[in-house]
């Protein structure tokens, strides 16, 4: 029953939501759905510490075993619990100067910088791997070049003020790209529906694994 009851809950909830979407006249079903939506927000909120526990486990093991870089792991846990406890006990809200300092001067800029470093890898990847080895690779390369030059003012400047590269880039985006993406997304939608159906019916059980019998 350790798997069957949770699977039954999953099935009942999914069916309830599908029924509630199509039978909107029933006050009981609508109220039940709204209550369950509320409960979903609460369940998600209370699961917030999962990331913290995982990080503590992984880095705690590294510190205990004194593996290479364990000092950094200790620093990470100090930052994690320091930020959490100082925010909750001292700052107490997002209005506090301390919170705004930590967010505006450290967290947000570091978050942005981590993504910003990808530009170097993209540039290096474009140089190393974009080779005209076949017709399809050539099409991909030419489209990428048209896009990169057409979507910035440089494209217009290179053609002496004429907007042709930009117009070509816009047409590529709105016609062939959109057509290809639509095909992929329709496929993805059907795949998502099939997966949801499989989970609901208990055919897909991967989410139940990793927790014992």
């Amino acid at each position: 029953m350790k798997k069957e009851v949770p699977m039954a809950i999953c099935f009942i909830l999914a069916v309830l939501y599908v029924v509630a979407n199509y039978f909107t006249g029933s006050k009981f079903i609508t109220t039940l759905k709204t209550t369950l939506d509320d409960w979903f927000l609460i369940v998600t909120a209370w699961a917030v510490l999962v990331g913290t526990v995982n990080l503590t486990q992984i880095h705690g093991r590294r510190i205990r075993a004194k593996r290479e870089g364990y000092v950094f792991s200790a620093w990470l846990l100090a930052c994690l619990y320091g930020m959490m406890l100082v925010s909750i006990l001292i700052f107490r809200s997002a209005n506090a100067i301390g919170w705004k300092f930590m967010y505006n001067q450290l967290i947000a800029p570091m978050n942005a910088t981590v993504y910003a470093t990808l530009v170097f890898y993209i540039g290096s990847a474009a140089y190393r791997s974009f080779r005209m080895r076949s017709l399809e690779a050539t099409i991909l390369l030419v489209t990428a070049v048209v896009m990169m030059l057409g979507r910035v003012p440089l494209g217009r400047m290179l053609l002496g003020g004429r907007p042709y590269l930009g117009q070509m880039a816009d047409w590529i985006l709105s016609v062939p790209n959109s057509a290809g993406m639509r095909g992929i997304q329709i496929g993805a939608c059907l795949g998502g529906l099939a997966t949801a159906l499989r989970i609901m019916l208990g055919i897909e059980r991967g989410h139940l694994g990793g927790t014992g019998e």
Binding site: L13, Y17, A116, L140, V152
Partner: protein, 211 residues
């Protein structure tokens, strides 16, 4: 924020930006220090924000002040996820997962079909003649043929031979155009991200440019 605090903050921000960017040249301890600082601070920030904006008002306002004791049910379901870390009772975490998945699947099955299948297919029914503009007619043909052929490409149950093979080939070409466009836009996005950091370093920190 006072001027001196802002100045300290600017220098700290510049230091961590340079430390994080240094990894592209070579992995180094300074980068690892900055990376671990970021991960720790961000995880702590996320927990604290959820606590301020949701957990604390849930307990103080709804549970204690208004006496909505029925909320103990979702609170317990949410807390059951932490039983994953205790092997003997780890199976209890399935309740949290299945509760969330059940609602998630319900929404996918009830809400996804119309906007992302029906409406998308409807929008593919474009005028293939009589638009009054030859370029529009040509574009509509490319659109319809492109959508159909890229869908045919994903019919893996049929062998890609003969007519189906040729149609799939056209679909591949259309998808290569889509991926080329995606790559071009990805470059644009990544450059913009780095540009933002350069504007901070050169403008706010070194005051070489005016933002």
């Amino acid at each position: 924020m006072s001027a001196s605090l802002t100045l300290w903050g600017t220098w700290l921000q510049a230091l961590f930006t340079i430390l994080l960017v240094s990894v592209v040249f070579k992995d180094n301890p300074a980068y690892r220090f900055a990376e671990h600082t970021y991960v720790g601070l961000f995880a702590g920030y996320f927990v604290a924000l959820t606590y301020f904006n949701y957990l604390r008002p849930n307990i103080t306002d709804r549970l204690i002040k208004k006496g909505e004791y029925l909320l103990l049910i979702p609170i317990v379901i949410g807390l059951l996820i932490y039983t994953r870390y205790i092997r003997s009772i780890a199976w209890l975490s399935r309740y949290t997962i299945c509760f969330n998945l059940g609602i998630g699947c319900g929404y996918v099955l009830s809400k996804d079909f119309k906007p992302f299948f029906v409406d998308q297919v409807k929008a593919t029914f474009l005028l293939l003649w009589g638009t009054g503009n030859w370029w529009k007619t040509f574009s509509n043909w490319i659109y319809v043929v492109g959508t159909v052929t890229s869908l045919v490409y994903f019919l893996f149950t049929l062998q890609k031979k003969g007519v189906q093979g040729r149609i799939s080939q056209i679909g591949r070409v259309v998808m290569m155009i889509a991926f080329g466009a995606a790559f071009g836009n990805t470059v644009m996005a990544r450059v913009s991200l780095f540009l933002g950091r350069m504007q901070f370093l050169m403008g706010t920190w070194l005051k070489l440019i005016k933002i």
